[in-house]
Amino acid sequence: MTTNTVVSVSDLEKTYGKPNERQYTALKGLNFSVAAGEFVGIMGASGSGKTTLLNMLSTLDTPTKGNVVVNGHDVTQMRGNQLADFRAQEVGFIFQDFNLLESLTAEENIGLPLALKGTPSKVMDQAIHEVADTLSIADLLQKYPAELSGGQKQRVAAARAIVHHPAILMGDEPTGALDSTSARELLDLLTTINAQQQMSVLLVTHDPFSASFCQRILFIKDGQIGSELRRGDLDRREFYQQVLNELGTFNE
């Protein structure tokens, strides 16, 4: 493993269900890696195992077999508090359903990862305001999630995901619950964050439009990486067309 690899997955296998029950193998020996600063998309039909894969990477679930190394940590070897701390420090996560705590203001939601680390409140305030400026949500900080639109909520969630400068930002269909304008705004923001902060981004989606914002796309089929597409020097529209073409052949 070289130092500029952020995620490295080898032989990853996941089987749901106990041995004596009905079992289902969602991932069957997956291999891939993400370099530092890369913006990678993972595409696949519904039920192809995208969420399963992301859960393995973010330690929300444990693999049946194989290795996952994130930013130098062997995720499969971690236990208890190590897992919690890993999630709190190494990864930023954006969920389809926002995952914002409705009893906290936007500001408090964003500050949560820093509070967990025991960051001094001055430093915390500064970090929150910096990230809020980047995502243009400075005027929303005092509001509660119930007072925000879907797009605003997702931007707050993105702010929370990056406020502590994780090694990698992961999103599981973060645009899934957004209208097309909000979705586009969020994707532009992710692109900006990726470019400005050199933060690696791993975006899971089934939507070709979202995927076209990535530099590289991995296609999952039947629990394995079926094919891979690189954007190279193409602009987003051209890449979008290419993704559509690929899906056409991929799904046959």
Partner: protein, 603 residues
């Protein structure tokens, strides 16, 4: 079709329904048990020697009804919160409001009727066993106490079914007035009350004022008579509520702006409390009242239980006198923890009982001194000379030889030689003064029974202070029983009230803690967070309840005449009660941890 859907919805949440049903059943059962006592005229007339006892019962009933109303409202809002999402969905799918309204009405009513029916049956059984057990444990015998009492059943059914009809109507109106969207998203709505400092201050001052008025009313029960209890009840309830509203919200808001709030999960804890503060103030008020009533009732009950023997012990000298003890009685006598034992030989002839001077010199008869106001002082032993003059006329000494009619023989003291010559029926009598009446009650009871069976004293004749004790028990035992009984009843109510809070909050919290888990919060942090939140819910009403009781015991001064006092020895009672409360907290906490904390295996 809609009925089927509704049924499926209920099936999905059968655990919640079971708890709801269990809570309501418990409440109906407790009410039945109480009504069984309160409406039973024969029982009251036979046992309530103190006239105010029946007044207490009357107000006890009113109080219990009030609590029941609040309780059912609380349970009903829990039911509604469980169901409104489903109902919103039905309406969105095109069901008419009228049809959904019918469903709501029926569902509430059916649930209520089932709870009432099971509750009455449970109440019957509990009356039979718990009341019996309690009487046994307290060494009480109360006449005319039966488990099955028709008027009590009627009262319970009328009250509960009536309340549930009201609750159904309330739900009907509530659901048909709210918009579908609100129903669907009821659990996500932001509830952020605005804080106006002036209004907060007014609330706080008003709350303290009302509390003071309530505390004063309880102390002034002699002047206010009947008016004191309802006055105290209303003012303390409203006062507590206002005080909580004024302070809790202000404290939370103030804490939220400190840097303490930005450490770990503190901010989350404050957010949670702030989010539910309206729910919480209501809950905390109810719980603090129930806590106060449970603790107060048990304190009074145990006050009688502890102080009656103490008081009895200060009447007369010896605890028990046994004539011609047989082998069995002698064994029992030996078992007593005696402070002073004496045995005298009597010779009875005509209307005179003769004593041996030698025996009286060897084992002087004890006397008890009294102050001018009649308060008992310590016991002492007179010189033989003094005894011949005064001690010989003491009722305690005279009572050692009673005729069948109950009048005493005239005592005469003879020298040892003369006594030997004296003719007459020879009887020995052994008097024992025990160190601690409460500890030897069991043995004394046995001895007294045997003595009564062998020599037919008139039953109401007091011989020894064990007999005084039984006499007092007849007077105050009813109150002691009511105290314990109500205490247990209120404690059970309190438990199920807190249970509802837990269950109605759990689904939302499950989601929230799942989010925290995903964000990478350590397990022990989440555990601590929950322990703090639930701890606050237990602590605040506990403190408030103890304050209420300390003032409220004033009310029992007329019922516990000196030398008894409602405050004597309350420390231990409080300690035991707080211990029980702490255990209940730990159980609740463990339960909540299990329900709310995410399992590591599923994502």
């Amino acid at each position: 079709m809609l009925g089927k859907l509704a049924l499926a919805g209920i099936k999905n949440r059968r655990r919640d329904y079971l708890v709801l049903l269990a809570g309501l059943t418990m409440s109906a059962a407790i009410f039945y048990m109480f009504a069984n006592l309160a409406t039973n005229r024969a029982f009251l007339n036979a046992n309530a020697v103190v006239s105010s006892a029946s007044v207490i019962f009357g107000f006890g009933a009113v109080l219990l009804i009030l609590i029941t109303v609040v309780y059912i409202m609380y349970a009903n809002s829990f039911l509604l919160s469980m169901r409104q999402h489903d109902y919103g969905l039905f309406m969105m799918l095109g069901a008419t409001r009228k049809r959904v309204g019918e469903l709501v009405f029926l569902e509430t009513l059916i649930l209520g009727t089932i709870a009432t029916a099971i509750g009455v049956v449970l109440g019957l059984l509990l009356s039979k066993f718990l009341v019996g057990f309690l009487l046994n444990a307290l060494g009480l015998h109360l006449k005319h106490l039966t488990a099955f009492y028709l008027p009590a059943i009627v009262a319970t059914v009328v009250l509960y079914v009536g309340l549930f009809i009201l609750a159904s109507l309330f739900n009907l109106v509530r659901l048909t007035r709210t918009t579908v969207l609100k129903l669907l998203h009821s659990d996500e709505l932001a509830n952020q009350p605005k804080v106006n400092p002036v209004w907060q201050l007014i609330q706080g001052v008003l709350g303290i004022g009302l509390l003071a008025l309530g505390y004063w009313a309880m102390a002034a029960i002699n002047d206010l008579q009947m008016a004191a209890i309802p006055l105290a009840l209303v003012t303390i309830t409203i006062g507590t509520y206002l005080l909580f509203r004024a302070t809790i919200l202000t404290i939370i808001r103030a804490l939220r702006h400190t840097s303490w709030a930005k450490k770990r999960l503190n901010g989350f804890l404050l957010g949670q409390l702030n989010f539910r503060v309206h729910n919480y103030t209501r809950m905390l008020t109810i719980v603090s009242l129930l806590f106060a009533m449970a603790l107060g009732a048990i304190t009074v009950g145990s006050g009688y239980h502890r102080q009656l023997p103490l008081m009895a012990q200060r009447t007369g000298t010896y605890s028990v006198a046994v004539h011609d003890p047989n082998a069995h009685e002698q064994k029992l006598l030996d078992r007593l923890d005696s402070a002073y034992t004496a045995t005298y030989t009597q010779k009875r002839q005509g209307k005179t009982v003769y004593y041996n001077a030698a025996e009286l010199k060897r084992q002087p008869v004890e006397q008890r001194a009294y102050t001018k106001t009649g308060t008992a002082k310590h016991v002492s032993r007179q010189s033989f000379k003094a005894f011949q003059k005064s001690g010989i006329k003491d009722l305690d000494f005279l009572s050692l030889a009673l005729t069948k009619a109950g009048s005493p023989y005239a005592p005469k003291i003879l020298s040892a030689a003369q006594f030997k010559q004296q003719a007459g029926q020879t009887i020995t009598v052994t008097t024992v003064r025990v160190k601690n009446l409460a500890q030897d009650l069991g043995t004394l009871k046995r001895l007294n029974q045997l003595e009564m069976a062998r020599f037919s004293h008139p039953a109401e004749m007091t011989v020894g202070n064990y007999q005084s004790y039984t006499l007092m028990l007849g007077m105050f035992g009813g109150l002691e029983f009511i105290g314990y009984f109500l205490g247990i009843a209120f404690l059970a109510m309190l438990a199920s009230c807190l249970m509802f809070k837990i269950l109605s909050g759990a689904p939302g919290d499950q989601r929230r803690y799942r989010m925290l888990y995903k964000v990478g919060v350590r397990y022990h942090l989440m555990r601590h967070g929950i322990a703090k939140e639930i701890g606050i819910l237990f602590l605040i009403p506990g403190i408030m309840g103890i304050i209420d009781v300390l003032f409220g015991l004033q009310m029992f001064k007329p019922l516990m005449p000196a030398p008894m006092s409602p405050y004597q020895g309350i420390g231990l009672t409080f300690l035991i009660f707080v211990g029980l409360y702490a255990i209940y907290y730990l159980i609740t906490l463990a339960l909540y941890w299990r329900i709310v904390l995410p399992k590591t295996t599923d994502a």
